[in-house]
């Protein structure tokens, strides 16, 4: 008998359509699991039982009428930066405490239209800024595999929820690696689409030219299905592509035999990469080679400059995106201010955490008159070079493989004193954001008992290529994302 907790969309879909289990029962099983473990994992900020009950009810009606799709009745958790109408959404920040959006973002609306059931809102680093979820304005999330360690970030809550069996699917966002890195640290699948593949309407903006919404799942199939369901042109997002969502699935079930997989030497030499991680990736590459893939040496010469470029562009854009949080139309507002300037100042000081204020300062500086050319403009030029590196590399290979994160999950509190050490978590993922590429992380074993993730990057619009490699690896390795026991 298929477990209700820990199974895939395919397995659960079979049960639901055969009416062996109802959407309500499936929901309940997950709510029970949340109750059982979330006191320790703390993946969720708030639960949405009424909405879930309503959606499960509708799902059951659809199932009864024989009108169900593959996602009907499947429970999903949603990161706190994604707007759902009437659901308190705070971007992991105190400054948005109590805010209830009057609209639902496009990607989420599409999933709900297809019958998904929202369990609740997951924790994240404040305004998606961070790599450990320790910057949440509420509390940190704990890695289900080792409760004293971070789940990664910024979508740590979403990754942990799936890893702990609390949700079948969860949604995260990826600006510098915020889906892929926590997926690696929590031992689940996490995917970032090509920039423009999924509408950003409803995603509380951090860095507009880098942000994308993507799924966490326990299998590559599940991630692919969810992504295809969310993707596609949105007239409300001028940066969203015309390409149809379902083409992420084209020929994706194929073999990896004969594919050329690029191994970028710079990615194996980054600062702080752990030997255990390198060893796990080595083993993964062997599995792929044994499955018929050809491994090819490639170079991404500007890798060393990626962090610098990212930490100018992202803060610059965020300093502008966060200017709207002034306490006038929504969110926290400091009463008792003599004038508007003081009100802005007090509100933003109390409402924003340290990392957010640090990045706003950095971003403001990078855009300021006299510094714009040396910083923002320069970074955008280096960005062109980084994208060029990938374009060159993809002439020699179909996809690029590497570690997702240089390290396994680190202890909570161990990097919070040194921002730069935290930023280094993203060195292998942020290139993909700068170049707008699709990327996926799949579990590829452990190091020191903690999960390691294998990253596959493909050319723009090449989700199906990345998925194909990932799926082939998943099959060949026999490794499946297990549910963490949360002992």
């Amino acid at each position: 008998m298929t477990q209700l907790v820990g199974s895939t969309i395919g397995e659960l879909g079979k049960l639901l359509r055969a009416r062996e289990v109802s959407a309500r029962e499936l929901l309940q099983a997950h709510q029970e699991r949340i109750e059982e473990v979330d006191g320790r994992v703390k993946a969720f900020l708030r639960l949405t039982p009424e909405l879930a009950a309503e959606q499960a009810g509708r799902a059951d009606q659809a199932l009864k009428a024989g009108d169900a799709g593959p996602l009907t009745g499947i429970p999903v958790a949603v990161k706190d930066v994604l707007c759902v109408r009437g659901v308190e959404t705070t971007a992991g920040s105190q400054i948005l405490r109590g805010f209830k959006p009057p609209y639902t973002g496009t990607a989420m609306a599409r999933l709900f239209d297809q019958g998904m059931v929202m369990l609740g809102v997951t924790n994240c680093d404040e305004f998606a800024m961070g790599s450990s979820t320790e910057n949440s304005g509420y509390f940190p999330t704990h890695n289900p595999w080792a409760l004293d360690r971070v789940p990664g970030g910024s979508s740590g809550g979403s990754a942990a929820a799936v890893a702990a069996g609390e949700a079948v699917i969860s949604l995260g966002t990826d600006t510098g690696g915020s889906i892929r890195q926590p997926a690696a640290l929590c031992g689940v699948v996490g995917m970032k689409p090509t920039y423009g593949r999924v509408s950003r309407y409803g995603l509380i903006a951090f860095a507009s030219s880098l942000d994308q919404i993507g799924p966490f799942a326990r299998s590559v199939d599940d991630a692919a299905l969810t992504l295809a369901a969310m993707a596609g042109h949105d007239p409300l997002d001028a940066t969203s592509s015309d390409r149809a969502g379902h083409d992420v699935l084209s020929s994706y079930g194929g073999e990896v035999k004969g594919m050329r997989l690029g191994v970028p030497r710079e990615y194996y030499e980054v600062e702080g990469i752990e030997p255990g991680v390198k060893a796990a990736i080595e083993r993964a590459l062997q599995v792929l080679r044994a499955a018929g893939a050809e491994l090819v040496d490639v170079s991404l010469p500007h890798t060393d400059y990626g962090l610098a470029a990212y930490y100018i562009i992202a803060p610059a854009e965020c300093s502008s995106n966060l200017a709207r949080f002034d306490g006038v139309r929504y969110g926290m507002s400091e009463e008792d201010s003599a004038n508007v300037t003081e009100a802005y100042s007090k509100t933003r000081r109390r409402g924003f955490g340290t990392e957010v204020r640090r990045r706003i300062m950095l971003g403001t500086y990078a855009l300021s008159s006299g510094y714009y050319d040396a910083y923002y403009l320069k970074a955008q030029k280096v960005r062109t070079l980084i994208k060029g590196d990938f374009d060159q590399a993809f002439k020699k290979c179909d996809a690029i493989v590497s570690a997702t994160s240089p390290t396994v999950a680190f202890p909570i509190g161990s990097r919070t004193q040194d921002p730069l050490s935290m930023y280094l978590c993203d060195v292998l993922t942020l290139g993909g954001n700068l170049a707008g590429l699709p990327g996926i992380s799949v579990p590829c074993g452990t190091s020191e008992g903690l999960p390691v993730g294998l990253q596959v990057l493909a050319p723009q619009w090449g989700e199906n290529v990345a998925l194909r490699v990932a799926r082939a690896y998943e099959t060949a390795s026999g490794l499946n994302a297990e549910v963490a026991p949360v002992g």
Binding site: K100, P102, T194, G196, S209, P235, A238, T239, S240, S241, H302, Y305, L307, A308, Y311, I312, S319, A323, V328, R329, Y330, G331, M332, S333, S337, A338, N339, V340, T341, E342, A343, Y344, S345, T347, R348, R349, F352, R357, R358, M361, L362, T364, A374, Y375, L377, K378, Q380, K381, V382, R383, T384, L385, K387, D418, P419, L420, Y423, L434, G436, Q460
Partner: protein
């Protein structure tokens, strides 16, 4: 002025120290020759996204103000707008 993030006297040193570390790392970009390189305007090739001039229903006053910390007679209230002299 600094983005009105509410810097208090003690803060400057704390942030200055941390930011200087980050800025030192960022400065390595100056090593890269970008004279002939155009900045990335849009990472993915999209252009000319225009919207037809069709009105669609908005939120209405009640919903527009539902999240407002302070509202008076249908407007958002703010304290006095005096700049520092």
């Amino acid at each position: 002025m600094l983005a009105r993030i509410g810097l208090e006297p003690g803060d400057e040193e704390f942030y200055a120290e941390q930011l200087s570390g980050i800025l030192a790392h960022i400065d390595r970009l100056q090593e890269v020759d970008t004279d002939a390189i155009p900045p990335t305007a849009q990472v993915v090739e999209v252009a000319n996204r225009l919207r037809e001039d069709e009105p669609r229903p908005g939120l209405g006053q009640v919903e527009a103000l539902a999240n407002a910390p302070a509202a008076v007679d249908g407007s958002f209230r703010v304290p006095s707008i005096q700049e520092e002299a």
